[in-house]
């Protein structure tokens, strides 16, 4: 099977390379044959890569440990879903997945455009095939997933932290986003080359862009959720280079989605939009590169190797090549309208772009700063969360403000009437939230204000920022209230208008309103989702409580109105790990709320024959005599301790299963959406003495809930829309006439 995969992958490379060449040749010669041949090349490459993926999956499922990638990321005891998911656990497999998703998307583009966009298509196929060729060269010659070694009985297995369902679907989701941006990029480049720089390229790819943005966003959220429930530090975002790598193209994509509306409606910002899509694509490639090359150290780069130079070349050529092309075509990208006022919808789009690109640029600067610093001063530095939070929060707050202003401010030049009509009520809601905070948290507000003045007089700028932190969450809530009110007001007016005009009942009116212009109203829903996410982030990071305590069984930990009793523990040997499972009872404000189990797991390294044998023997005792089973596990713990004293290499990989009680009960409304979160840092298998880290994360579930709202809104936007189709057809008709 692996020979078949090897072969399929090589043929796929040949097909992709041919498609790139033939597509280019077809733009020079007149015949249609070459172009058809190029398109068939793309389809064939897609089929062949799919075959390679199937062959590799076959290797994983049938435990073919002679394959290096199976040996490194799978093992006999690994449950089947994780065997399947182990394909993208390593670098070569991930790159293969990238190539597979890209070739599938390219095939879809070829099929759906077989009778459309004929002038653009050769160049689109050319660009897509080149990107495909690059990834196929990587998977064929530099990081082949079909590399094989000696016959082996068992594998190393997937990193235990990756064994989580969210982690299994997170990379493919993220890749759908990364890869998807190739399509609008290819259309943009084709538009530049052919000088057909009207609105067809982005209208045709509107849904591709949204789709990529959507999956990248969900992928990021899934990754955060995984970090939250798996890594055990009580948070969900650590500004890890790899997290940043996925955030940057997402921010750029968001900027592009917004800025392109200005081109659609006003014919403005043409150069900027091209720049944005080029940057988005480059950042997507850069993201893959960061994740997979390990150039900046990060736990996430679960795979590292020597694909760095190849990526750097590809990225450099793509970036500079696209920019040169853009500069050569500046004459075709003249704006059709002019800005008239700083207080206008047009200007708010500019500021929105400024913030999004600014945040992306900041993240890029800080992520790569260790490299920059080393090159400039020879000094190694670390960029941890504090600096990211410090510089990004003010930007994010301003962005939140713009989310409220942007959609409602008048085009061209806003009048006082426009402001009163759209913003008076929302502004009052915002101010009211702020006042409410000062009333409820007066002490904190006064202390913080004092702190700011004191720091200013002491010329201590760090102190100013520290004191400002107190104001960020209330500011965030006030802005959230403001934005939310603008959207509610807009929905209310729309429904009322339909109600008056057609006499529809409110709910019918709401449904029809949204359905008739899914894109606009879906956009509002996305904005609401963003607001909810912001609330969750602000509240959970600002008002989080934490304690670390060592207790024996029957002991109790108290924190912020919660009491947690450590009832006892039991030892288990399951799948490929031994675990100390702690049994906990949680009371919230004196009321019993939950029984929880939190685990500390050790995954013994099965490559020690002694350990492997002892583990399998212990596992067989499960379900029999409990005393013998427990004693046997304690023996395993002792054995691991002994081996660790002797062996130089890793004997075990620890992981934790956190316990979370989510509070949604109406009995405690003030704790709505709050998490009680327990991580066992260490459990003594003999005495049960345990070191617990306990967090209370208020409103953290708003983050995930906001994610769902985002998904719903974005789905509305992606839905096929008759109006959008008509607009696209009209543009195409105009374009064809101009060409003729």
């Amino acid at each position: 099977m692996s020979t078949l995969g090897h072969f399929a992958l090589f043929l796929a490379l040949a097909c992709a390379a041919w498609a790139a060449t033939a597509a280019w040749l077809s733009t020079i010669s007149k015949g249609k044959g070459l172009h058809r041949s190029a398109e068939r090349g793309v389809l064939a490459a897609c089929g062949l890569v799919a075959l390679a993926v199937a062959a590799l999956e076959y290797g994983f499922v049938t435990d073919d440990f002679s394959l290096d990638s199976v040996y490194h990321y799978s093992s006999v005891n690994q449950p089947l879903p994780y065997k399947i998911g182990a394909l993208w656990g390593g670098q070569a497999g991930s790159l293969l997945l990238w190539a597979f998703i890209l070739s599938s998307m390219s095939a879809i583009v070829v099929v759906t455009n077989r009778n459309k966009n004929r002038a653009l298509m050769p160049w689109i196929v050319h660009v897509l095939a080149i990107v495909m060729t690059f990834f196929l060269v990587l998977t064929n010659f530099i990081a082949s997933p079909f590399e094989s070694g000696p016959l082996r009985a068992d594998g190393v297995g997937l990193n235990p932290q990756l064994k989580n369902y969210w982690m299994m679907i997170h990379p493919p989701t993220l890749y759908l986003g990364y890869v998807g941006f190739t399509i609008p990029f290819a259309f943009g480049i084709a538009a530049l080359v052919t000088r057909r720089t009207g609105d067809i390229w982005f209208r045709t790819t509107r849904r591709w862009t949204l789709f990529s943005w959507f999956f990248l966003g969900i992928g990021i959220l899934m990754g955060s959720y995984w970090a939250y429930i798996e890594l055990g530090w009580g948070g969900y975002w650590a500004w890890d280079p790899v997290e940043n790598a996925s955030l940057m193209p997402w921010l750029m994509g968001t900027a592009f989605l917004h800025s392109v509306m200005l081109q659609e409606k006003k014919g403005m910002m043409k150069v900027w939009n091209m720049t944005l899509i080029i940057l988005t694509f480059c950042l997507a490639i850069f993201g893959t590169f960061l994740t997979r090359s390990g150039i900046i150290s990060s736990v996430h780069s679960f795979a590292t190797s020597d694909i760095g130079p190849a990526f750097a070349w590809f990225l450099g050529i793509t970036f500079f090549g696209s920019l040169i092309l853009l500069v050569l075509r500046l004459d075709d990208l003249k704006s059709e309208a002019r800005m008239e006022s700083v207080l206008s919808r047009e200007a708010s789009f500019l500021f929105n772009n400024m913030m999004l690109v600014g945040i992306a640029a900041t993240v890029l600067l800080l992520t790569t700063f260790p490299l920059i610093s080393e090159a400039a001063t020879g000094r190694k530095v670390t960029m941890g969360p504090p600096i990211f939070n410090l510089v990004n929060i003010p930007w994010a707050l301003f962005l939140l403000f713009l989310v409220g202003v942007g959609p409602l401010i008048a085009w061209r030049k806003a009048t006082a009437e426009n402001f009163r009509r759209n913003f008076l009520v929302p502004a009052l809601v915002g101010v009211w939230s702020l006042v409410l905070f000062v009333v409820l948290e007066g002490r904190a507000a006064i202390d913080a204000a004092r702190g700011i003045f004191r720091s200013i007089f002491a010329a201590n700028f760090g102190g100013v920022f520290d004191s400002l932190k107190t104001f960020y969450p209330p500011l965030c809530f006030a802005l959230a209230g403001f934005v939310f009110a603008t959207v509610v007001l807009e929905f209310f007016r729309g429904v009322r208008a339909r109600h008056h005009q057609y006499g529809e009942a409110p709910f019918v009116a709401l449904g029809r309103l949204v359905w008739r212009n899914k894109r606009r109203w879906g956009g509002y829903v996305v904005h609401v989702g963003f607001v909810v996410v912001c609330i969750g982030v602000a509240a959970s990071s600002a008002y989080r409580k934490e304690t670390v305590e060592m207790i024996a069984p029957k002991g109790t930990i108290k924190i912020d109105g919660y009491a947690m009793t450590y009832d006892g523990y039991r030892l288990e040997a399951i799948d490929d790990y031994v675990a100390a499972v702690t049994e906990l009872t949680v009371w919230q404000d004196g009321r019993f709320v939950a029984r929880l189990e939190a685990e500390q797991r050790w995954h013994p390294n099965m490559l020690f024959p002694e350990l492997r044998e002892a583990f399998l023997r212990t596992k067989a005792l499960r379900g029999g005599d409990p005393a013998a089973y427990t004693a046997s596990i304690q023996g395993l713990y002792a054995l691991i301790g002994r081996l660790e004293g002797q062996a130089g290499r890793e004997v075990k990989t620890p992981s934790t299963e956190v316990a979370i009680h989510k509070s949604f009960s109406l009995a405690a409304p003030q704790r709505f959406a709050e998490d009680f979160y327990v991580t066992p840092l260490g459990v003594d298998p003999f005495t049960g003495q345990a070191n617990f880290r306990v967090f209370v994360n208020p409103m953290v579930n708003f983050l995930w809930f906001g994610g769902f709202v985002l998904v719903f809104g974005a789905s509305l936007c992606v839905f096929p829309d008759a109006r959008e189709r008509k607009r696209l057809e009209a543009s195409m008709a105009i374009d064809d006439r101009e060409a003729a």
Binding site: L231, G232, W233, G234, A238, W239, D240, K265, G267, S297, S298, V299, E336, R338, M339, E340, S341, V342, A347, L350, F351, M354, G358, A361, T362, L365, F369, P370, I372, S373, A376, T377, R379, K380, V381, T382, M383, G384, P385, P386, I387, V391, P394, W395, W411, F461, G462, N517, R520, P654, T656, T679, L681, G682, R727, A730, S731, I734, R737, E738
Partner: protein, 134 residues
């Protein structure tokens, strides 16, 4: 209480060297952080202040043991760059809009040659705008 503060200060400023997320010794959840916490507690028990402990770590391992580099020298690029960029961009955009506005005021409408294709596109947009504002 002073000892507690010293521990807190050192644990939040120093990086856990486990190679996981770039996280402080206080926050990191790995086994290595646990060992480092014990080491820090010992330093504090020996009567050393937070600043002393941090300085000792930096002297031994360099600035990379800090969760974030101190805001001095070249590091200022990272600390202040984004804020300067933000201000610069805001000023630039405002000036740009002003300039465009002046240009469009100075430019009589007739200089743009009317073309039928433009008209159609413009009309389509106009119709759309009217529809949207309704």
């Amino acid at each position: 209480m002073i000892a507690g503060q010293a521990y807190e200060q050192a644990a939040t400023a120093l990086l856990c060297d486990c190679g996981c997320h770039p996280q402080s010794i206080k926050e990191c959840a790995c086994g290595r952080a646990e060992e480092l916490r014990v080491a820090l507690a010992k330093d504090v028990a020996a009567g050393r202040s937070g600043d002393e402990i941090i300085a000792a770590y930096v002297a031994r391992y360099g600035q990379k043991v800090l969760v974030a580099p101190p805001a001095t020298g070249f590091n200022l690029v990272a600390w202040t760059g984004p804020a300067i960029g933000l201000l610069g961009a805001a000023v630039m955009i405002t000036l740009m809009i002003r300039r465009w506005h002046r240009l469009s005021a100075a430019l009589p409408a007739e200089t743009v040659p009317p073309s039928s294709a433009m008209d159609e596109a413009y009309l389509a947009r106009l119709r759309h705008d009217v529809e949207e504002s309704r």
